[in-house]
Subunit: 213 residues, 2 copies
């Protein structure tokens, strides 16, 4: 069995964690565990969603795969010794250490991205640079020699996890997972990248983020 | 404020619920609540994920929007009087009643889809027909006169929710949500539809489902 640890923390972004979970859990040779600092349920940014933590970092020191999701709560982790120690320790023996969205800031703070190209949510690419990484706007950035994959904002974790299944099992496994989750995306609009969203949409996005902050 | 109730139940499919949640929660005028029969955390199909139930069906009888996700656990709901009563009651006053994946079976069992075109997970379209609906393989099927939207399997709830935000607020709001979740999908493979997945992939998918069952 391949063990996957998905890290949780207060004010996480749910889809960052659940997108990869949903892909990975389709493969019977993969076990997914949601882990955190303590076995206390954690809430997403707005408090609308609570997820249970099923193991502590201490209880799962050496997963085969580490998935670190993002969210505004990552900011509190960037100087959090126990979390960064767990990331470094897990990475020492993991097959793959991965992040979605601003989860890459945590990998960076743990020193895993020094000198590497990496990605994050589009709004956090500048901040990522301050942790030694070279930000790119690719959707998924992989360094197989370093066993590190980083994905862009939120929904990109689905794309990253499909590639991860290919690496862990094979391409047929990844396509079978894609078929089960019927991942045949048909976005009704084309505003998912800051390169294509209009100025009006960017202004509204800024307004919404300020209102939710 | 617009109130959204996302229904939870044992053995739900997480991305069915979290995809729409993640889109909707980006809009500050929308409140999302996870509801269930009792205020007891529920587990996804494989038990890997526990989500907290923050309100009972009785406590939230008239949300503006109802989102019913799918999962193998829907089969137990198809004859569950209290759940079906809640769906019918909520639909009587909702602005929109929606489903993702096999959540449409529940809407069908509640009598909401009689004679309507509707969709579901590709593997459940035949079953959907037995509840009075006319199954189609469109990704999102909308009947605005009946205030009903159904989405196809799992990941399709993201596409559906973007359209829902357009209906609830406006197109700029939907595009702003798309931008924040960086929904610029780049699937590494093209196996997300049974029309395009190879026979080998379909065989592997069947094998995986049997192993997980």
């Amino acid at each position: 069995m391949t063990s996957v640890a998905v890290a949780l923390f207060p004010r996480f972004t749910a889809l960052d964690a659940i997108g990869p979970y949903e892909v990975l859990q389709r493969v019977p040779s993969i076990d997914v565990t949601f882990v955190g600092a303590t076995r206390t349920p954690v809430r997403s940014e707005n408090g609308f969603l609570g997820i249970e933590v099923d193991a502590t970092f201490d209880e799962m020191p050496d997963p085969d795969v580490l998935v670190f999701p993002g969210g505004i709560g990552t900011r509190d982790l960037l100087t959090d010794g126990p979390t960064l120690d767990w990331v470094r320790g897990a990475h020492a023996t993991s097959r793959f250490t991965t992040s979605v969205c601003t989860g890459s800031l945590v990998l960076g703070a743990a020193g895993l991205l020094d000198g590497l190209t990496a990605t994050s949510h589009w709004a956090a690419l500048d901040l990522l640079a301050s942790f030694g990484a070279q930000p790119t706007d690719q959707r998924v950035v992989e360094h197989l020699d370093r066993r590190i994959l980083t994905a862009a904002g939120v929904s990109s974790g689905i794309d990253m996890a499909l590639r991860l299944v290919e690496l862990l099992v094979d391409r047929t496994a990844a396509e079978a997972a894609q078929l089960w989750i019927e991942y045949d995306p048909q976005p009704p609009f084309d505003a998912g990248s800051p390169r294509r969203a209009s100025d009006e949409v960017k202004a509204r996005a800024a307004e919404y983020a300020a209102a939710r902050a």
